[in-house]
């Protein structure tokens, strides 16, 4: 292993690649060669340093300096300043406030990073980087000194619950699978992170794939399995790449394969790629997909621990669950259980998105309240607007209103509020969001992704969608709310899998917390947030200067008017797309 005095980590997240990260990297390499620094400074690629909102990003270690927004032309200056003269190039420095949130384990932060501890800090394509951060030490410890039963006891004591959604204790799952007599057994990692608004698993897979691999090997040892699969969604090509590299490297060092670390224990792993079906995040559907079939769920029991992949005992956990395992084994169950609440232990990653000032990934101890997340970590709502709702748990989750901000985030509290932890997507919505429209959006998603195997989900969600579409168009009628409520109850209690059982949640939670908005749509034919197209019209007011920008941008040519004169929108032609309003520089377009 070659030693360098300094490392530059360049973010090659899809978001930064779009802003020319590779060009920056090439320019850096060239400049380092030109300045004779190439043997001292190593340039590495890493996914995600910050939230990628400032253009190309790079991190310089050990200095811990975070540069953003440079272009190829700035590289000679940057290299001269930082690497030759040893001065921080202030011009490209990220402002202090944001550094606080993005630096890992910053003392002022409310965050505790366990799963995300290495993301953006190590080169994910180099196993030595991971090993330098105590990687595979947990595996060595387990293989050398723990019996499989002891591993399971540790897992039970840690209180780690499945991070994929339902929150079933991971140790119990392992225990059941260990107890199954049939062989072979399979260890499966659910990396089919399909919830819109959630991307924490992608970041872990892209930034710290070995943590997942190590977690899976430990799980395999505990349950007595020799074969594992990682089922990754096709939308994450970079994650598939880093995983495959990680597996190859682990194999080369004897951490996967026959007789791991001389312990006599053998285990190997391969990646299987999905093909764009949301329902494959459901464990029985996922296993059907690995078997090469349509990803349709089947009734449980039998649970996968008894009869899973190819009807053999299988243990399915998600990415985040496995990524926690090495740390639990290394630092002890007591340490892990010291974080979180009584029934929800440890930390959880959340993906912050929507109308907040700071978006991106966070990892916080469970039990933190939503207000701290939205106002302290995410720095409040954009443009000083009011918060309307926090959508948590993906399409099977729910929308929580402001009153719920002071409740703790843990499995029980969220369930009591009518939503789920899910994989941890948090989409914050401001006052301009229409909750009926959001319910319709999720129902459209669910309806589209329903596999069609069971009737309540296939037909029921379609009926719900039709009603919601009608309400949004302004054709809602008396009794619609009651019909929706009835359908919610029926679909929930009769659907085959988690997708159908959770499908009514977005509607149920918005009906519960934002019933007035439904009533305004149905009885007053009014969309309070001015979103639903059937209930609004766009008009141009006197502030119009006749600049013609709106008319030129209108996709349907609904806007007419002479230059420097007040323009007019033809309400019959207008499709209410709102583009004119966005492009107008004079705030002359209003919604009525």
């Amino acid at each position: 292993m070659k030693y360098y005095r300094t490392h530059i980590l360049i973010c090659v997240d899809p978001e930064c690649l779009g802003k020319g990260a590779h060009d920056i990297e090439d320019a850096l390499q060239d400049e380092l060669v030109a300045q004779g620094l190439i043997d001292e400074v190593q340039v590495l690629e890493t996914p995600r340093i910050g939230d990628c909102s400032h253009g190309p990003e790079m991190m310089v270690y050990p200095d811990g300096v975070h540069y953003v927004g440079m272009s190829v032309d700035d590289i000679p200056f940057l290299v001269e300043e930082h690497f030759l003269k040893g001065r921080v190039a202030k011009k490209f420095l990220l402002t202090k406030v944001e550094v606080k949130d993005e630096e890992l384990g910053a003392p002022t932060s409310k965050e505790v990073r366990v799963v995300l501890r290495n993301c953006g800090k190590i080169d994910p394509e180099n196993i030595e980087d991971y090993i330098a951060e105590d990687g595979y030490e947990a595996l060595a410890k387990v293989l050398a000194s723990y019996t499989p039963e002891k591993v399971i006891d540790e897992m039970l004591a840690s209180g780690l619950r499945g991070r994929g959604g339902a929150g079933f204790p991971a140790g119990r799952k392992w225990q059941f699978c260990r107890a199954s007599k049939a062989t072979p057994k399979f260890v499966i990692c659910n990396a089919d992170e399909g919830d819109p608004g959630a991307f924490m698993n992608r970041r872990v897979l892209e930034g710290d794939p070995h943590a997942v691999v190590e977690g899976m090997i430990i799980a395999a040892y505990a349950i007595g399995s020799s074969r594992g699969y990682i089922y990754c969604r096709a939308e994450y090509p970079l994650a598939v790449r880093t995983l495959n590299i990680a597996i190859q490297q682990a194999r080369a060092l004897g951490l996967l394969g026959e007789d791991i670390l001389g312990s006599g224990f053998s285990f190997d792993l391969e990646v299987r790629i999905g093909a764009g079906a949301f329902v494959c995040g459901e464990e029985t559907a996922l296993m059907a997909s690995i078997e090469g079939k349509r990803g349709e769920p089947r009734p449980r029991p039998p649970f996968p621990a008894v009869s899973g992949l190819w009807a053999k005992p299988s243990n399915v956990n998600n990415v985040e669950t496995y990524a926690n395992v090495p740390q639990i084994m290394l630092r002890g169950a007591q340490w892990y259980a010291s974080m979180g609440t009584e029934k929800s232990k440890g930390t959880k990653t959340f993906a912050l998105a929507g109308d907040v000032n700071h978006t991106g990934l966070i990892e916080v101890p469970l039990g933190i309240n939503m207000r701290e997340v939205v106002y302290d970590i995410a720095q409040g709502i954009k443009d000083g607007k009011k918060l309307k709702a926090v959508q948590i748990g993906g399409p099977m989750g729910g929308c929580l209103p402001e009153e719920y901000l002071d409740r703790p985030i843990d499995y029980e509290s969220l369930a009591a509020a009518g939503t789920i932890m899910g994989s941890g997507g948090l989409v914050v919505m401001d006052e301009d969001t229409c909750m009926v429209d959001i319910a319709r959006f999720f129902m459209e998603f669910i309806q589209d992704e329903s596999c069609g195997k069971c009737t309540p989900c296939r037909v029921g969600t379609r009926r719900m969608l039709e009603i919601l579409q009608r309400i949004c168009k302004g054709d809602g009628k008396d009794g619609d709310i009651e019909t929706l409520e009835m359908l919610c109850r029926q679909i929930k209690s009769t659907s085959l899998c988690g997708l159908g059982q959770g499908a009514p949640n977005p509607v149920e939670s918005t009906l519960k917390h934002f019933r007035k908005e439904y009533e305004a749509h149905i009885y007053e034919k009014r969309c309070p947030a001015k979103v639903c197209k059937g209930l609004i019209r766009f008009d141009i007011i006197d502030a119009c200067t006749g600049c013609t920008v709106c008319a030129r941008n209108c996709p349907v040519g609904a806007i007419t008017g002479e230059r420097r004169k007040l323009h007019v929108i033809d309400a019959n032609t207008c499709i209410r797309c709102g583009i004119c309003m966005q492009v107008c520089n004079f705030n002359a377009i209003v919604i009525n």
Partner: protein
Amino acid sequence: MQNVLENIPTTDPVAIPEKRAVIDQILEENRNLPGSVMVILNELQSKIGFVSPSMQAYVSKKMRVPLQQVHGVVSFYSFFTTQARGKHTVKFCMGTACYVGGAEQLIEKAKQTFGVEPGHTTKDGMTTVEICRCVGACSQAPVVVVDEEMHGRVRPAKLTQILRKAQS
């Protein structure tokens, strides 16, 4: 679906020797893999660009898997397409954050620009417009993906420029 191996169109990959060699190689490499159908179809989709009815029949025959199982898998997953796509693909992310961030407006504008509905290809075979599932770049919403390139925080005024990349 009827068995279409008898009348293979001359333009079908199965009928083109170079493409057929690629298909045969994929089949050969994955022949003994458990659950190989998904893996093979994924490879075909990525290397050939689509899985035509004749290709499905060919896979079924070579792998000794019922055609309805192959077709069942192809029709179940949204990543598999049965027709060739355009030279360029424009994908609009429809995740929650992108939807809240105004993805619908962008799609509306793209429909006007290309004159096709999402899921279709322009007449000149140049561009396929698609709506896709969350690409996991939520902090950059709304997101438009042109071929492999990701564009974030796209405003309608900026879209025209981005779409130009998919027109040549």
